[in-house]
């Protein structure tokens, strides 16, 4: 009753406020597949009025003078669609605009999604990667990885070749909110951090909000990575499969009555093959992923989308001589489902209701035979119910508001003979938010004030999180941006992010004895389009962190009652030059950053405090006889570590011998006393598509670390023949060529 009353009032107010002008609303879709096109540009020619579509392809343009107009919709890679419309006073016209794909990509259309966002949105520190950006990069083991591509963006630090963890603007990985179709993904890693569970071919786009993010998002201190999977082809059935050195993958998509579906699956086989080829017995490993999505459009204004993910790593080891003597199986992974209802309540109110379930689970079962077993079981359950409404209040105001309720349950149980450890906690965080996109001076000054009220049930208090974004456009191609915002985080991890390899994170609610971790972001920057397809941006930021909960240095896992409270900051300067289309496209990004923490009197730089990072990413389609070339080069100054400054003898007593043996023990300096050498790596890939009568075949050759740079993962010490300690190093990935083929029909 109350909702309908609000809707009725909201529909009435703008009509009263502007009785004469008309409006146009609707969706922009891909004509071939029916998928919505996010950030397409819709313009009423000759009026200066226009809008960028939302992430779901919806647009609304108000305040249009009554009369005859030409409406155009454009999107990079698609032909522009023009439509003559006759608008009566106060009429609201609903349209679905379907754009055909351009035969030649480099044709007439020059307005990219980035440009449309630049013109219409107040988004600071936001970078969007679409399918094309993701799929053209060189592949590790034949697999494109979304998170590894995100690692190439400014402000993101990669700590090793073996880890896809994201350290964004001085924040640790647990401070990032990672979403897949609204599902919170808590541990997005496979093979101890080498890959993410997102199948790149099934991903429509991934948007990284590196700081100052809108009030719509909360619960994390540093950033948001919003991954949206593809909707599937609603016009025809197609199957795409590939074989690479590491894995086999297939994507099937097609129409269903009233909508479309997409199912993607991937399973590795290389580790098993390698292990058996090397003669390693008693060890097996694989991982698999399944992503699925289906949508159903009941009416043009109402759409249901069901999405899901299932991903698991399975590691087995056993006694090769006698499997009954020791047999172990470790399984861990993510499951998640979301159901989204998109509804155009009235042309000026667009809404979305999301129900999502996410589960990260791990099961370790070690059987020593004869009934002796060690078992570890942990579950993290996240239920989300979320409603977002967008109210096109007037031409100058677009108000977004909503509510977000979660139930987060953590449970862990370790059981080995007499030892039984059980941990369980639940948290029900709630939040309300409202935000206005306010065009204060037409096409010149945009404001985005917002407020998020997060209820912290453990401490029974509301945490106000004000946000403000400002955009000033002194010229058509230039924008000056600024943002400030407060953020809190009700859940933290208990395991150190410094571990080189990670199976999974152990999440808990922030215990009552601690204050809620919080951060304030200050961001300012300038964006400029140097050409229709060349965007340059410079940003500076400062993040002020308070009440962070850190693990004890050296711990893999710190019990909740022993977490350390830290304050700190991160600051930096970022530069990005991005070419979105053309014979050569890609980006160059440079980051200069400082990250510092203080625990008591100890002040130190975090282990991911990389001072300088440079990434060059380039794709050259059709370089020679239809062969595409892609390359990336990364350069980063050394990361800090605690190096040995001294050493001495250590005598160990062996009771069975009643005697002592000695080895070296090392005295380590401060945790940031040393830095590893500069990291650099060049990857390159070639691919060619052969179009055949029944479909197409794509072959690819990728080389990781083309010039075989010897990057250092870690140092360790050994005792040499003359008993002196000798420093040794373990390197990162050496030169690694991979080939593969994909088939589409």
């Amino acid at each position: 009753m109350r909702v309908s009353a609000i809707l009725a009032v909201s529909a009435f107010v703008p009509v009263m406020a502007s009785a004469q002008p008309a409006a146009v609303s609707g969706f922009v879709r891909d004509r071939a597949t029916g998928e919505p096109l996010a950030y397409a540009n819709v313009v009423i020619e000759g009026t200066g009025l226009g809008a960028a579509t939302s992430e779901r392809g919806y647009f609304y343009i108000g305040q249009i003078p009554a009369g005859r107009h030409e409406l155009s919709a454009s999107y990079v890679g698609y032909e522009t669609v023009r439509r003559q419309v006759e608008l009566a006073p106060a009429q609201v016209l609903s349209l679905v605009l379907e754009l055909p794909r351009a035969a030649v990509e480099l044709g007439e259309v020059r307005v990219s999604a980035e440009r449309a966002k630049f013109d219409r949105e107040v988004q600071i520190s936001a970078t969007r990667l679409d399918t094309r950006s993701l799929l053209t990069l060189p592949r590790l083991g034949g697999e494109v990885d979304v998170l590894r591509t995100v690692q190439l963006l400014p402000g993101v630090v990669m700590t090793s070749d073996f880890s896809n963890r994201l350290y964004i603007r001085g924040g640790s990985p647990d401070q990032n909110l990672i979403l897949l179709d609204g599902i919170s993904v808590y541990n997005p890693s496979h093979l101890f951090g080498m890959f993410s569970p997102f199948i790149a071919e099934a991903v429509a786009d991934a948007t990284l909000l590196a700081g100052g993010f809108p009030a719509q998002y909360g619960g994390r201190l540093s950033s948001v990575l919003d991954v949206v999977s593809r909707e599937g082809n609603s016009k025809r059935l197609s199957v795409d499969g590939s074989l690479s050195l590491l894995a086999a993958r297939a994507v099937a998509e097609g129409p269903i009555p009233g909508g479309s579906f997409l199912v993607a699956g991937r399973r590795t086989y290389l580790p098993d093959l390698v292990l058996s080829g090397l003669g390693v017995e008693g060890l097996g490993y694989y991982f698999y992923d399944v992503m699925a999505k289906a949508n159903y459009t009941r009416t043009p204004d109402s759409r249901l989308t069901l999405a899901g993910i299932s991903a698991e790593d399975v590691l087995s080891f056993w006694d090769p001589q006698n499997r009954q003597a020791m047999d172990s199986k470790l399984r861990w992974g993510n499951n998640g489902v979301s159901l989204r209802w998109n509804r155009v309540f009235t042309p000026i109110i667009y809404g979305e209701v999301l129900a999502a379930w996410s589960n990260f689970r791990s099961r370790f079962d070690v059987d020593f035979g004869a009934g002796a077993r060690a078992k570890f079981k942990s579950d993290l359950m996240d239920w989300t119910l979320k409603a977002d409404l967008t109210w096109y209040l007037a031409d100058a105001h677009t108000v977004q508001f909503g509510a977000d309720a979660k139930y987060v349950g953590n449970g862990a149980r370790f059981d080995y003979d007499t030892i039984e450890v059980v941990h369980r906690d639940t948290l029900v965080p709630l939040a309300l938010y409202v935000e206005d996109k306010w065009e204060l001076v037409a096409e010149r000054i945009f404001l985005r004030p917002g407020l998020r009220l997060a209820f912290d049930p453990y401490r029974s208090r509301f945490e106000p999180e004000p946000r403000l974004g400002i955009k000033f456009r002194p010229g058509k191609n230039t924008a000056v941006n600024a943002a400030i915002g407060r953020f809190t985080q009700p859940t933290v991890v208990l395991n150190s992010t410094e571990a080189l390899f990670s199976i999974h994170d152990i999440w808990i609610s922030v215990p009552r004895k601690y204050r809620l971790p919080s951060a304030v972001h200050y961001v300012a920057g300038v964006e400029r389009w140097f050409a229709d397809d060349v965007l340059g941006s410079v940003e500076i930021y400062y993040k002020d962190f308070s009440n962070l909960l850190e693990t004890r240095y050296g711990d893999y896992f710190t019990p909740p009652e022993s977490l350390l409270v830290a304050d700190g900051y991160s600051a930096g300067f970022e530069l990005m030059l991005r070419k979105t289309q053309g014979r050569v496209h890609g980006w160059v990004s440079y980051s200069l950053a400082w990250t510092e923490r203080q625990i008591g009197n100890e002040v130190f730089h975090q282990h991911y405090d990389r001072r300088h990072s440079l990434n060059i990413v380039a794709t050259l389609p059709g370089l020679y006889r239809g062969i595409d070339l892609s390359a990336r080069w990364t350069l980063g100054t050394g990361l800090p570590y605690a190096g040995a400054v001294g050493y001495g003898h250590r005598y160990e007593y062996y009771p069975h011998e009643h005697d002592y043996h000695w080895h070296w023990m090392f005295e380590y300096g401060e945790r940031d006393a040393f830095r590893y050498p500069v990291y650099h790596r060049l990857d390159a890939g070639l691919s060619k598509v052969w179009r055949l009568s029944w479909g197409e075949v794509k072959g690819f050759l990728d080389v990781i670390n083309l010039y075989n740079a010897r990057n250092v993962l870690l140092y360790y010490w050994e005792r040499a023949a003359d008993q002196r300690p000798v420093r040794k190093s373990i390197g990162m990935i050496p030169i690694l060529p991979t080939i593969g083929v994909s088939v589409r029909f």
């Binding site: 400054v645 830095r675 300690p725």
Partner: protein, 295 residues
């Protein structure tokens, strides 16, 4: 034309200044932490199994990572005393198998007893004086298995707790595939259940025992550790990384450990084909099976 050149120069100057400012502001701190050489003293007072063995006091120093190590350090004065002893023990320097240690010349006279507090002092003219204190754990008794018992999978190890013990160490020593494996695992006292509490009950380390050939004797060694030696052997370093060991436990003025332990042992035989038999049924009363039935 001149204006254009001037503007270009101004712009170039601006970018050069910006680049210089960034370079200057972004230098990393690479100087290593300051190293200061200290005495490295390691002593463990043992009682229980071997009351009259020689107990070495290892005295050396720490070395900078750039220094060449020496295996001996002469000139130290090593003293250990207790209020219960008539005299302070002075240790003399000896080199055995290339390792210099300070051995007590009056070894037979060290009467360490449970609950006793002992003090250590090491003086060297070139280093800070090392001082330390240990409280010896009380002697204790292994209740099960007894020497001569045959054990199997599922059996328990039961012992009376030692007063003053911070933790226990179970030592292993076995041959597998031609290699000899030796080591120990340390358990904090509070992590070991038992009913009544003065009894500690844990599963027998069958992972090792299973490697023993049936019919061959195996010596099971359990040691009660004082807080210093527990931290040294099985504790966790507060500052260094997880793979690094404790540098100093109960020592002031230097690094190392001054600990005390009480060892007990029993010799058992392993029956590999009788899994599932519960040893606790063999013990009179007062104990409960370890596997809780309500799981």
């Amino acid at each position: 034309m001149l204006t254009v050149i001037r503007q270009a120069r101004t712009r170039a100057g601006f970018f050069c200044s910006l680049a210089l400012a960034i370079t200057a502001a972004s230098c990393d701190r690479t100087a290593p932490s300051e190293f200061r050489a200290e005495l490295n003293v390691q002593v463990m007072l043992r009682q229980g199994l071997h009351d009259r063995v020689e107990m070495p006091v290892f005295v050396n120093r720490t070395y900078s990572i750039f220094e060449e190590p020496q295996h001996s350090l002469a000139g130290a004065e090593v003293l250990i005393w207790s209020r219960q002893w008539p005299d302070t023990l002075r240790f003399a320097e000896q080199t055995i198998s290339g390792t210099t240690a300070y051995y007590c010349t009056t070894m037979a006279m060290i009467p360490v007893t449970g609950g006793e507090t002992c003090w250590l002092q090491v003086i060297h003219p070139d280093f800070d004086t090392v001082r330390a204190r240990t409280i010896a754990p009380d002697t204790f008794r292994i209740l099960y298995p007894a020497t001569g018992d045959t054990v199997s999978d599922g059996d328990s190890l039961v012992f009376r707790r030692s007063r003053n013990a911070k933790g226990y160490l179970i030592s292993y020593d076995y041959r597998l595939d031609g290699d000899t494996w030796r080591g120990w695992i340390a358990f904090p006292n509070e992590s070991i259940p038992g009913l009544p509490y003065d009894t500690a009950v844990m599963r027998l380390p069958m992972v090792w025992l299973r490697t023993v050939e049936p019919g061959r004797p195996y010596q099971l060694v359990v040691a009660a550790l004082d807080s210093n030696y527990f931290e040294w052997a099985g504790g966790r370093a507060q500052n260094p990384r997880r793979d690094r060991q404790v540098l100093s436990a109960g020592i002031s003025g230097g690094v190392g450990v001054f600990g005390s332990i009480c060892e007990q042992a029993c010799t058992v035989y392993v029956r590999q084909d009788s899994a599932g038999r519960r040893c606790l049924r063999q013990i009179d009363s007062g104990y409960f099976p370890l596997k809780r039935s309500n799981r």
